[in-house]
């Protein structure tokens, strides 16, 4: 039985009408035309459909629409676009971390969640975090390099932000130039 739901995706509220058990993935793809999350297994096994919900990487194929509630959903599209890339997207592009690219969405989403929790992950942390994101093309080497690069870029971005805040507080805008 269809019901009307309001969900928060990529910073906007969307009204959708569907059965409460409908997987969030279908809502994102079919109702919101968001192609970032991909259908991979429907069983929560492969990670291709990952999205961020409240900064955690979760599998949209197993999330019933009813369970979403007022939580904030972020998809790959919500991270950034080609004119304004998220540091993790930038790192994956720099490292050419895709062959077919079907798993790329899950890899990027998982990396964003990891770096949020642990901005300086070690090699073992990265491998463990991505353990349940499957890639069949064998792009693992490039993906690992991308995650390491993303950690660096994110930290740099964070430092810039902190630096900027400090600069503003001190009223010394001139330091901004040097930092960048």
């Amino acid at each position: 039985m269809s019901e009307v739901f309001r969900i928060d995706v990529n910073g906007s509220t969307h009204t959708v009408e569907a059965d409460p058990k409908t997987p969030l993935l279908y809502i994102l793809r079919n109702d919101l035309a968001l192609n970032g999350p991909k259908f991979g297994c429907g069983l929560g096994e492969c990670g291709a459909c990952s999205v961020l919900i409240d900064e955690r990487a979760v599998r949209a194929c197993t999330i019933p629409l009813l369970a979403v509630g007022s939580r904030r959903v972020t998809t790959l599209e919500g991270l950034g676009d080609e004119g304004n890339l998220h540091p993790v997207q930038q790192a994956f592009i720099d490292a050419a971390a895709a062959q077919c690219g079907y798993c790329l969405n899950g890899m990027i989403i998982a990396t964003v969640a990891l770096l949020k929790r642990n901005p300086t992950p070690g090699e073992a942390d990265i491998r463990e975090e991505l353990r349940h994101n499957l890639c069949r093309c064998g792009t693992h080497i490039e993906i690992l390099a991308a995650v390491r690069r993303a950690a660096g870029l994110s930290q740099a971005a964070e430092q810039r932000k902190t630096g900027r805040r400090a600069a503003i507080v001190e009223g010394a805008a001139g330091t901004l130039e040097r930092q960048q």
Binding site: M1, A18, K21, T22, Y26, R29, N30, A33, N35, K38, F39, G40, G42, L43, G44, E45, C46, G47, A48, I53, V58, T62, I63, L66, A67, V68, R71, L76, E77, D81, L85, Q89, I93, A96, A97, A98, Q99, C100, G101, C103, N105, I108, R117, A124, R127, E128, L130, R131, H132, N133, L134, C135, R136, C137, G138, T139, H140, I141, E142, L144
Partner: protein, 1178 residues
């Protein structure tokens, strides 16, 4: 809306200002290869497609180089049948080697024309002009230049490809041979790329297919003829259902929304003939030898028979390769738009032109009315279901006269994709007296063909008779100069549905060649590389072998074990070399590749870690060196996965590996360190690099394992159990599948006891009860709001609506079915409807039903209605409940009536039962306990009727008394665990834990409520905190009386971590299923408690575990919406009923028990419990 349609060839050529290069006219057709527009932009066309290898980028580099334009100025169009040249299927690493050639000539033809035109316009000799970055200049006139745009403008020119066009010398290359970023990745990394899965056409509907039960087999007389009937009524209630379509064995559904199409496909009842038995393909050697075949001799030199007879050391070996799958990460998908005038499909096909031909046959439509738009899909390394689903979509679109998108399920892709075939290779040979190879008699069996597009077979459009092809011969000729050589391929039809998969037959053939030569070297007492070099004659191969040996610092050795080990680990290093030969025999060589690999073998667990791979490859000229490097990485990782882990499992009739637990892939922690050495050969022609580095993998790893352990493994995959069996000197028998039939209810009534009991009942009690006259429906207004509110809370405490909920969700409407040992009992309608509910019941009638189990009309109720608990309830509570029920909306529906079989159908017998088991005394408060405890006891024992589920029942279905009270029972297909000191939970239940669980559905040290208990907790939500605390206090005291448990959650979890290795050894398949199917949520950091804390893993009975596996568990967040719990898990556990088979679930359960309840006895008879649990209807 995302609609991708390539501009057709005619439209491409319609521009007034255009330079086009086409093929010469053949049969009235000319094919378009290249256009340059008046803006100078170049569009190039190729019939091959990008399978994720980056060929789009490499081809653009080739065109840009030959035309001398900036790379950014070139756009590639791949595979669309409306415009691209027909260059056949994208196979065999041929794109760069073969199909790029006409493109290169087309670019050279265009460049020559533009130079000549510029020269003519300005009266200059062509030789004086140079072209660079799309601009033509002279060396002398510095202010003079012409762009390609200038030269194309104002004219429409068509050129035929000049086969003799002068090609740029490699020494002038600036774009080809330098690494170039892939053009597609920025869009893919931001979700802006359109894969075939992302195509949306206006008015598009969603389809799903339902495949026959012979999953993964495509020939035989039953194929296409197994459908008996379809029950369309089974999906009549699916919202937005448009059609159910059946043609032969092709069955599909179409709906307006995707989830509804998926639901309809799941619910559709289809009756099929039983699938026929197949040969055992799990150990494929026997089946392959028995498969009819035709020998084809590829080589016969020297005198093999004589040499074999005279060998000093005879060595006859057999190598066995398992069935494997392409395992694309995205299941195939397609969109089709069928109209009178023609068909357009959006497809991820690897073969757009053969696909068009198949659609033409399928739909009886001429090819020129069919357009195949080719879009990228998930990576595919051979033939997956992309073509099948395109044909599926076409059939469904034709049936509903609208565009239809069809998405295959993970299970369908796994089960039906044409597999990489198993292979059996025999090598007979040995050493001569000098330690040289005496003979090499090689025979290989490869049961595969091209796997016809499935709907053609399912609909009977083409016969389900298998073709036999000649594809077993790839790299069948060994690279070594064996003097006495015989090579025979046994061409054979497929057994399971099979087709080409990366490396095709070359990978297994090389496993044999390169293992065998290693065996010869060891037997001869010579270093394996040195031994190979004695017989290797190809100079590029010799260079390559030297290069990789040097890069790896290879230390010559003549026997295994030289690298030693530490602890349980044994270290080894192996080598293998191959050139991948593809195409019709004798075929064409692609890139050469050689591996040195390091392994660590754990002799206690049997696990192999491939720790490092050093791979050298000679690819000739490399168009995009970074692209080549990525292909080598991909091949190494994928082939390592295939060698260590991958094997398709079969039942006797079908493929059973239907998800990533049943068919596991390598994951990040197991990815080896990789060192790639790319041999620079810029002056040699470019070679295919898509497959070569996979080919030496198996032998290199097996040789390294031999070096570590001294044991030869000649059958793949090298799973821990195979390695352990090898290390222990024997084979490991597969456990036979338990197929015992058994009683369907564990606590079923023994016949003799049952009869005696019935006799007893007949003699006891007076069965007759008078009817109580019906009344007018009471007016709810006569009750005070305080009374009604009290009644609402009583209904909450009693969770009345959990059992009495209507089948369509209406409150108290009844109809839910409960399977009891005595038969199915249906809950009644308790809404105030006079006809069907209790609207005509007076309070005395209501009270009698509640306390004595007698309906208003005098008939006895069964004790599925827990009147034995309610009997002791406070009058005020029952009165308030009566009042509350009168306020409910009447539902005029009659639920299914309970009709038990004889003798239980005789309701009057319940009188005797009541005489034996019903105590009518009011609830006895205990003065020794405080008010909170007493309130909790009252709620638990009467209104809450917890004992109805949580207490075992005797053979007559009555709750047992004494110690059995709240010691656990079974209800509704679930085990209701003990709530007292007999609880199996590894951590004791505290008052706080009971409170958390009853209030929020989750207790940190125990887990989340599921199944019927989740409904109960939701029902308890209106109760005030004080009542929940009271129940918790009462229950905690009861559970603590004899509790001796002192384990903390940390200790329990630590024990399960420690048990992991032993559990994997006990149930290796179960371990893999857990890792692939469960661990993504049940390990690591998330909102779920560890399974080690879950009572169900520690129980004597696996019922609840199996319930969860079969039917899934709803997201705790849904329950949390009623209970207010914060940060619950929002993902639901999917049900695996249609995904895992009985053996897989048994393996998984064995692993879960051993890992998460170490020390507990293993569960017996999982199959029986599975049937019991599986038969419960919800």
């Amino acid at each position: 809306m995302t609609v991708d349609r390539e501009t057709s060839r005619d439209a491409q050529l319609s521009g007034e200002e255009l330079l086009a290069v086409l093929s010469p006219v053949v049969n009235g057709e000319e094919e378009l290869y290249l256009t340059i527009g008046s803006d100078g932009l170049v569009t190039a066309f190729n019939g091959h497609v990008d399978l994720g290898t980056g060929i789009r980028t490499s081809l653009a580099q080739i065109v840009a180089e030959e035309l001398c334009v900036p790379f950014e100025q070139v756009q590639m169009v791949l595979g669309a049948t409306s415009v691209a040249p027909n260059q056949g299927a994208t196979i065999a690493s041929e794109t760069i080697q073969v199909t790029a050639m006409p493109l290169r000539l087309a670019a050279a033809t265009a460049r020559a024309f533009l130079l000549e035109k510029a020269a003519r316009l300005h009266g200059l000799p062509v030789e004086s002009l140079v072209v660079e970055d799309g601009i033509i200049r002279t060396a002398t006139l510095e202010n003079w230049s012409l762009t390609f745009a200038d030269l194309v403008s104002g004219d429409h020119v068509r050129l035929a490809i000049d086969p003799d066009a002068s090609l740029k010398p490699v020494s002038d290359y600036r774009i080809v041979g330098t690494s170039h970023p892939r053009v597609d990745i920025p869009q893919k990394a931001t979700g802006r790329w359109t894969y075939v899965h992302d195509v949306r056409v206006p008015g598009m509907l969603h389809g799903r297919v339902v495949r026959p039960p012979y999953a993964g087999f495509d020939h035989g007389e039953h194929v296409g003829t197994s459908l008996i009937s379809i029950d369309e009524a089974s999906v009549a209630d699916v919202a937005g259902l448009v059609a159910v379509v059946a043609i032969g064995d092709f069955v599909g559904v179409v709906a307006t929304r995707e989830e509804n199409a998926a639901l309809a496909a799941k619910k559709l009842k289809v009756l099929w003939r039983a699938a026929p038995e197949r040969p055992d393909l799990n150990a494929p050697e026997e089946a392959l030898r028995a498969n009819p075949s035709t020998p084809r001799k590829l080589a016969d030199r020297g005198n093999v028979d004589l040499a074999l007879a005279g060998a000093a050391t005879a060595m006859d070996r057999t190598y066995v390769w398992p069935y494997q799958m392409h395992a694309s990460i995205g299941p195939s998908c397609a969109v089709a738009d069928f109209r009178e005038e023609g068909l357009t499909v959006w497809s991820g096909t690897q073969n757009p032109f053969p696909m068009r031909r198949d659609l033409s046959i399928l739909l009886d439509m001429p090819e020129d009315r069919i357009v195949v738009e080719r879009l990228e899909a998930a990576g595919c390394y051979g033939r997956n279901c992309a073509d099948d689903v395109t044909a599926d979509a076409a059939l469904l679109s034709r049936a509903v006269n609208a565009p239809v998108r069809v998405q295959l399920t993970r299970e369908q892709e796994h089960a039906w994709e044409p597999k990489g075939a198993a292979q059996v290779i025999d090598v007979r040979g040995g050493l001569d007296i000098d330690g040289g190879p005496s003979a090499y008699d090689f025979e290989t069996r490869y049961p595969s063909n091209l796997a016809p597009t499935l709907p053609l077979i399912l609909t009977g459009k083409i016969p389900a008779a298998p073709d036999t092809l000649q594809m077993g011969d790839r790299t069948a000729i060994p690279p070594y100069a064996y003097g006495n050589l015989r090579v025979t391929v046994h061409d054979m039809p497929p057994i399971a549905r099979a087709s080409w998969f990366r490396g095709v037959s070359a990978m297994p053939n090389t496993f044999a060649h390169e293992s065998y030569v290693d065996e010869l070297a060891t037997a001869a007492g010579v270093d394996p590389i040195e031994y190979r070099l004695r017989y290797l004659q190809d100079p590029r191969a010799i260079d390559l072998v030297h290069a990789v040996a040097e890069r790896a610092n290879w230390v010559p050795h003549t026997k295994p074990g030289t690298l030693g080990g530490e602890g349980d680990l044994l270290y080894g290093r192996g080598f293998a070399y191959a050139v991948y030969v593809h195409g019709k025999f004798p075929g064409t060589a692609a890139a050469w590749a050689a591996w040195v690999t390091d392994v660590a073998v754990n002799r206690r667990t049997g696990e192999i870690a491939v720790t490092k791979v050093i791979c050298a490859q000679d690819s000739g000229l490399m168009i995009n060196p970074d692209g080549v490097r990525h292909q080598i990485h991909g091949n190494i990782i994928q082939s390592t996965s295939r060698v260590l882990k991958e094997k398709v499992d079969f039942s006797s009739t079908a493929v059973t590996s239907k998800e990533w637990g049943g068919y596991s892939l390598i994951t990040f922690p197991d990815v080896p360190e990789i060192d790639v050495l790319m041999i620079p050969r810029p002056n040699e022609p470019p070679l295919g690099v898509g497959e070569s580095a996979s080919v030496p993998s198996a032998a290199a790893i097996a040789n390294a394992v031999f070096d570590a352990t001294g044991i030869r493994f000649r059958e793949l995959p090298l799973t821990p159990e195979r390695v352990l069996a090898g290390l222990n000197g024997g084979g490991q028998a597969e456990k036979p599948v338990q197929r015992k039939r058994s009683a369907w209810w564990k606590f079923g009534l023994p016949i003799a006891g049952g009869l005696a009991a019935v006799t007893g009942l007949l003699t006891m009690g007076s069965p007759w009860r008078p009817a109580i006259s019906p009344i007018e429906r009471p007016d709810a207004n006569v009750y005070s709001s305080v009374t009604i509110e009290r009644g609402r809370l009583v209904a909450a405490a009693g969770a009345c609506n959990v059992c009495h909920i209507g089948t369509d969700g209406l409150a108290f409407a009844g109809g839910r079915r409960f399977d009891t040992p005595f038969g199915a009992v249906y809950a009644t309608n308790i809404t105030p409807d006079v006809e069907n509910g209790i609207g005509g019941w007076s309070y005395p009638a209501f009270e009698r039903a509640m306390r004595q189990g007698v309906s208003r009309d005098g008939h006895h109720l069964y004790p599925a209605h827990p009147y034995t608990s309610f009997a002791g309830a406070e009058d005020a509570d029952l009165q308030a409940l009566y009042a509350y029920m009168t306020t409910q909306a009447p539902v005029s529906e009659k639920p299914t009536e309970t009709k038990l079989k004889f003798p239980f159908g005789i309701r009057a017998l319940m009188a005797g039962w009541n005489a034996m088991f019903l105590k009518t005394a009011p609830f006895q408060y205990n003065k020794a306990e405080d008010a909170e405890w007493n309130r909790g006891a009252y709620l638990v024992e009467t209104l809450g009727h917890c004992s109805a589920c949580h207490t075992q029942r005797n053979v007559l279905g009555a709750e047992k008394g004494g110690k059995a009270f709240l010691s656990g029972g079974f209800a509704d297909g679930w085990e209701a665990p003990a709530l007292n000191a007999s609880a199996k939970s590894p951590v004791s239940w505290t008052e706080q834990a009971f409170y958390d669980y009853l209030r929020s559905g989750h207790a940190r040290d125990h887990g989340s409520a599921a199944g019927p208990m989740a409904d109960v907790i939701s029902a308890l939500a209106p109760l005030p905190d004080a009542d929940i605390r009271a129940m918790a206090a009462y229950l905690a005291k009861g559970s603590a009386t004899v509790a001796e448990k002192s384990a903390t959650a940390e200790m329990v979890v630590a024990a399960s971590v420690a048990a992991q290795a032993d559990a994997a050894r006990l149930a290796p398949k179960g371990a893999r299923i857990f890792e692939g199917a469960c661990a993504s949520c049940h390990t690591g950091t998330n909102a779920l408690s560890s399974l080690a804390l879950n009572s169900n893993l520690h129980s004597d009975s696996p019922d609840n575990l199996l319930q969860a596996i079969l039917n899934g568990v709803e997201a705790p967040a849904i329950l949390a919406q009623t209970t207010g719990r914060e940060t619950p898990e929002i993902m639901s556990m999917p049900g695996f009923r249609d995904t895992l088979d009985e053996q897989q679930i048994a393996d998984l359960a064995a692993y879960l028990r051993a890992r998460f309840a170490p020390g507990k006895a293993s569960w017996d008879g999982i199959g029986d419990v599975l049937r019991r649990v599986g038969s419960v209807v919800h």
